[in-house]
Symmetry: D3
Subunit: 162 residues, 6 copies
Amino acid sequence: MSDALVPGSYDPITNGHIDIIERSARVFDKVWVTIFTNSSKKPLFSVEERLELIKEAVSHLDNVVVDSSEGLLVDYARERGISVVVKGLRAVSDFEYELQMAQMNKRLDPKLETFFVTTNVEYSYLSSSIIKVVVANGGSIKGLVPKHVEEALVAKLDGRGC
Amino acid sequence: MSDALVPGSYDPITNGHIDIIERSARVFDKVWVTIFTNSSKKPLFSVEERLELIKEAVSHLDNVVVDSSEGLLVDYARERGISVVVKGLRAVSDFEYELQMAQMNKRLDPKLETFFVTTNVEYSYLSSSIIKVVVANGGSIKGLVPKHVEEALVAKLDGRGC
Amino acid sequence: MSDALVPGSYDPITNGHIDIIERSARVFDKVWVTIFTNSSKKPLFSVEERLELIKEAVSHLDNVVVDSSEGLLVDYARERGISVVVKGLRAVSDFEYELQMAQMNKRLDPKLETFFVTTNVEYSYLSSSIIKVVVANGGSIKGLVPKHVEEALVAKLDGRGC
Amino acid sequence: MSDALVPGSYDPITNGHIDIIERSARVFDKVWVTIFTNSSKKPLFSVEERLELIKEAVSHLDNVVVDSSEGLLVDYARERGISVVVKGLRAVSDFEYELQMAQMNKRLDPKLETFFVTTNVEYSYLSSSIIKVVVANGGSIKGLVPKHVEEALVAKLDGRGC
Amino acid sequence: MSDALVPGSYDPITNGHIDIIERSARVFDKVWVTIFTNSSKKPLFSVEERLELIKEAVSHLDNVVVDSSEGLLVDYARERGISVVVKGLRAVSDFEYELQMAQMNKRLDPKLETFFVTTNVEYSYLSSSIIKVVVANGGSIKGLVPKHVEEALVAKLDGRGC
Amino acid sequence: MSDALVPGSYDPITNGHIDIIERSARVFDKVWVTIFTNSSKKPLFSVEERLELIKEAVSHLDNVVVDSSEGLLVDYARERGISVVVKGLRAVSDFEYELQMAQMNKRLDPKLETFFVTTNVEYSYLSSSIIKVVVANGGSIKGLVPKHVEEALVAKLDGRGC
């Protein structure tokens, strides 16, 4: 059976991400959770901090590997024999962007499949960005990220506005 | 590894459906292609005709089973130990309806995952309905359905309008 | 303060509808829950049955009136001094249709406002149609409609397919 | 310069349609306004009635021909040397369906272009269906259809509900 | 009856905003028009300038208060006993973002309702951003913003490009 | 017959753009391909470089003029007697933004029409942005841009990440 890749910027990991990773880990033999750093957006957490936050969040899952990469997703997958990319979908705007990326990746490597999963409805409005806005303004995000991520966010952002 | 279910009404099967089935067959151990007959829409082809058209279209795939069911998708999957439903997505309107069904199925059976795949761009505008409209008005659908499906459609519909 | 109208076909009322009605009842002085029967769709429950199911479902709300009408929504509102229509929104496709209706109603009566509310995420995938499909195929809808609606649905549909 | 085709079911023609036809008539040498009758929907007005309503509505435009056809759009266009189809777009759901039709028509005849135009914002919520619902329930549609169409609608529908 | 909050960045206020504020002022006892300054976008006008432009634009409305805040919307509303947030909706993309914010705010304060209103069709394509682009390139925005806002924009931007 | 304008930032031109330009050139007497430089986005290629890349890409089309402008689109079109703007549409999000621009341009000059065309499905996922991301990460874009554009991109971006 195939290995799967759950790529993202994970800045930071939320309960929505964890939901997708847990679902993937039930279906696939091995799941790669990989931070791709080639985006132009300036992150709040460094790659090392993000790797640590993910590792603690998925430590209960045996078949999950946490990693980061500066390269192209299709090259990363090909080198590791990964045949499936899993992406979470929340809204229509997600859908269009992800569909565009999936078609491009399909062209770059026709053997790589992209599977879309919907998050639990409870997390349907959740994103790393909205989490950062709430914490920066002193709001509570209990239940939306793991406890250690909440603490890391508060340490960086609380009271600072944004 | 998990078995997968590719449900549909397949009235009739198109190259877009076959693309999704082939992709699923590469990733999963066994793929169930199942006609669910509980829809309220009146089909053009009988269940038996649709089963025959699908069987001929997927005869090159070893790990694909063709079936039909009158029951609820989640019950069907549970009884056969199927853990993943695979659905093709073309457009935003597809996406919203399928997302609604996936959330409902998740509630009916939390262990059943729904994975969405995008069809090859070449088939992005293809549906069983549009195929029927074209044939009924004497248009050519060469390359959009297998040859034997084209013949079955022409036998039923050609020149009849719709 | 203004009275509000929560129109619908309510065939039958679901927990998603009740959520919208409760939210409206907290904000407005008086809330009209009115079945409009001028739709072309053939209902499962008669107007009388639907009125009974709604009445039992909202009996805990003091400022809610349950009614039915065969006329035009804007006339109904004008005659009762209702200044606001409240509509639930789930998905993008809802949004476009409701926006079209709201603009038309605005033209028919410029003093009538339409306010859109989002349902609780828990009910974001819920509709009267999907409820009927699930019951007709023997699935459980516990927690998605009130107990007395579940019983009425099972009495009408169970095992019948649809 | 190219001739253009503005296809539709025109059941009946509205001010939104007329807006699209007028815009096309300013850009193209000759504009064909053609009722395609191969749809499965049951119309309110007969083909002859619809042709009359359109003819009166566009009688001020010199370069517009009114016609009807039972065939396939691409065949109709090819036989008359028409190289462009013009379709009005209001909403996202329009867009997806029309895009699907445009891609299919492109495949059936690669030389036929489909151009989409947006209606005047004033008519952005207008459709033949919503017009019929309003008239059937006794509402006013003044300013949304020409006077002679309003009279034809009232003669057919007024007070009848629908 | 409830007080309502119409939040925004108002950089600057347009006729679309004023339409939403006027509608809210007809339905609610008191309407707070509040600039939230915690967005990361760099504004064209300072908070003080924006407050002045809004005050002049809504001076004909008795029950409207103009304010600004650096905090979290839900805290602001709770401290003032505001129970309803009113947001204008134009397009599908607006809808998805606003729905996400509404669900997050609902979680942060379950007693706070968000009501969505559609602007007058005449302003359906209007945004502060598009207004700034047009003025920066010397285009006319007469009828899209109040006269004093037009003058303020021209003073800041005219001929400067952007 | 009318002249048409195909505006864009063309940073750089892709096969999707060329598809739209070729279609326009078949329908209209003269086609203006014009870079508008008033966007706030920082381009990868200078205006001069972009003009050169376009000129080479459309050299096989007799009735196409390549140009750039710092002004407002409606002024540019009016001064040259251009009566139609042609824009490519790929996705729903494109559609909403372009519709907003078309309505604004219609207000600025009621005689200017905007026609939307869909690209060939083969290019439906293509954009200048995604092309730049792929090249910056060492991926192949053969078949998605003309050869000379590919070389210009590799010279600027290869191995640099982005």
